[in-house]
């Protein structure tokens, strides 16, 4: 029995402790905002926060989550009002949109650590998140815009 918190709600898990968090979120809890992209921690589509740090939910198993706080895109803000979400909409970042929840969660973890990220900071933090549509320059602009709003 593993106890953890997801988006502020306590949960208990008694399935296969080797199952990645991604499938618990998606198949068990129906939190489908977190996406399956590669299953190997290579694309970032499944990024969530664990105790405020960005992690790839496809590569974190349930047994690594006992007592941890997990935040998904659904829990980032009450009504899509996180500064990054607002900046993402303002800049019309998404094309297909499939990777964007992971991008936003990765960026949210970045801003927690570095409220004023440089281009180099953005490259380092975001290089693990692939966008096949190629929205990177808008992602960069939206992160900078959100950083400005927070400051």
């Amino acid at each position: 029995m593993i106890k953890l918190t997801i988006n502020g709600r306590p949960q208990t898990f008694d399935g296969d402790p080797a199952m990645p968090l991604l499938w618990y979120l998606r198949d068990d809890l129906g939190l489908t905002g977190t996406k399956f992209g590669c299953g190997a921690g290579l694309c970032g589509a499944c990024t969530v926060m664990r105790n405020g740090e960005a992690v790839r939910s496809c590569s974190i198993t349930m047994k690594d989550l006992a007592g941890k706080r997990v935040t998904t895109i659904e829990g980032l803000s009450p009504n899509g009002t996180h500064p990054l979400q607002k900046a993402w909409m303002q800049a019309n970042v998404p094309q297909c949109g499939y990777c964007q929840a992971g991008q936003i969660m990765q960026a949210a973890a970045l801003l927690r650590k570095k409220p004023k990220p440089t281009d180099q900071d953005i490259d380092s933090a975001m290089e693990g998140n692939i966008c096949r549509c190629g929205t990177y320059q808008r992602i960069r602009a939206a992160i900078k815009a959100a950083a400005k709003e927070v400051a």
């Binding site: 489908t32 996406k35 399956f36 998404p94 949109g97 975001m126 998140n129």
Partner: protein, 759 residues
Amino acid sequence: MSSVTNISRRGFLDGIFSAGAFVLAAQVLPKNAWGQTEEYAGKAAGALFHPSIYLGIEPDGTVYIVTHRSEMGTGIRTTLPLVAADELEADWKRVRVEQGIGDKNYGDQNTDGSKSIRGFFTAFRQAGASARVMLTSAAATQWNVPASECKAQLHQIIHTASGRRLGYGELVAAAAKLPVPKPETLQFKPKSGWRYIGDHAPNPQQIVDLADICTGKAIYGMDVKRDGMLYASIEHPPVMGGKVRSLDDKAALQVKGVRQTMTIDTFTPPYAFQPLGGVAVIADNTWSAFQGRKQLKIEWDDGPNAAYDSDQYKQYLLDTAKKPGKVVRNLGDVDAAFASGAKVIDASYYVPLLAHATMEPPVAVAEYRDGKVTAWAPTQNPQAVQDTVAKAMNLKPEDVTCHVSLLGGGFGRKSKPDYVAEAALISKKTGKPVKVVWSREDDIRFDYYHAVSGMYHKAAIGSNGMPTAWLQRSVFPSISAMNDASSVYGFDVEYGMGLNDLPYDIPNHRAENGAAQTHIRIGWFRSVANIYHVFSAQSFADELAHAAGRDPLEYQLALLGSGKVLDLKSQGVTNYWNYGEDYQRYPFDTKRLRRVLEIAGEKSGWGKRKPGNGWGIGIAAARSFTSYVASVVEVEVDSNGRIRIPHVYQVADAGLVVNPERARAQFEGAAVMGASLALSGEISVADGRVRQSNFHDFPVARINQAPRQTDVHIVESDELPGGVGEPGVPPIAPAFANAVFAAIGKRIRELPFSKQKLV
């Protein structure tokens, strides 16, 4: 092409719209164009008839617009409804967009070929204008004034003289009883009056799914869930056409959550859209299905494609391109020019197989019940889903209902519904709704790959370094092999993408296509054969410019001459594909190509900085999907051969652009995709097995590798709308290679760059 019909008075509407709704249908619409939300699907099932619906207005004023094209990131699901809403003078806040299901009555639903606006701009405009005219007429009758004294404005009809106003909802009952104006009598709003669309829209609108995407609520195929649904993952034959010789699934069935396995028959050639075959593991959740699959013990009968080796095949393509092939265009006599003793320059080029690698791998949910299938899929082509599922299960296409979710990327891969047929077959076997999930490894190993190609260019050089003759050959496995296993030559669609329409003003020109067998699934990938044809031709043009000691942009313009409409017919191109468009309406006008090149030169500051010492700038241009695009790529190459792309300039003449904001996004993304395939895109094959499997060995551009800044300039134009989804891709790779040459003097003739030694 479309006619609008008033279907408001028919009783069968009761189940869908409220009894008083005003509903217009256009001819291109299906009989059951219901939106796919649960609420509407439920109502539709109870209706006696399934009338065509394109645009409807409820008595409360809510406007419903059905869109029948698939949303994979271009914004089309928003842009086409905006066309109708603008012409209707609707308040966009009161418009609801409904996604159409697959139905032949829609006409073409295959969202590919950058053709949604080209194909349906007029139909959506007519639907909106018809409704506006009828609402105006209804108001005028009520006020007993001439309709000419009334105008439509933001969901109201206004009598200008008296200031009286009636909302659209209030007019629905009366408008519904009126005849539909004949299309030829419709007066469209002047461009200056456009509210939501065009270059100067005062109220441009964002995509309807934007907030849902940014909050994780948007539903992609991967996110569809049905009650009692099982999850399946399939071990496909590692070699195309291979079959299961023996299966031991004992260990797989021991995995917790695994329920059963199922062998799926390998397709009978040609492969078309059929499932590949293999063994499915069916489980209670995705993870268990993946785990069970690892425990399968399968012996394969690989079949004849096990001998396929992409290194040998590459050599075959390059060798064949040096030999005469099938002539697909001929002007003058290149052989005489080559024999004349003129200086000759020649070069071979190569572009490997590429995988689409959509961020959402192929996935589908299907539910078989009582001889009918309902599918939910991220598909570019819901009618192909109907046909493919029906064929796989001996049903009629109309027994297959296909709901279209958002697509997590498409790029051509999701026009092929093999994965939906897999879900339907497994649902029938299990008696439950089934979701088939492809892993990333499945996606990379079992794609419908962008064709590998070998090309050869040869020119005879005359005065001023300009060519007097240009021979162009291309050899590639053809997409036509998808439907004809014996096909070894390309077809008009592939020829028309850069092989039989080289735009230069040269007296002697010949284009040829060599024969090549197909050993792996080939399909269309964003901009298709343009990728390799434009890469080779635009690289070669740059080589000729440098050989002549002339500036590449100035040389390009000289090659084009003063500009004209290409007369391809007189040069043996009897069936120029022209992206499916009539040549009279959409001629290939090289003046427009000149113009985008000139603008690209201005915007990029071409010629202001001398290239060299690791900094370079390159240019390339092409017409594709009836749009004209010039790309300038700026590069920095350091002493270790590491490449940065500080800036890309994309200049597009796409005719009338309905949604410039989304068009710019497409050209930004195209710069990234073009740079990505040039930098690192390669699928290779040994023993018939694809070597790559995930993003570690099939890298795609990341934020630190993509162009840092792409500036898009869209030429303001009243020409007919052209494509915007694909045309931004083809010139990027050659402009990039030309820039690298300018920076360090290294000519790259084979992609990807990552395989070349740069320094």
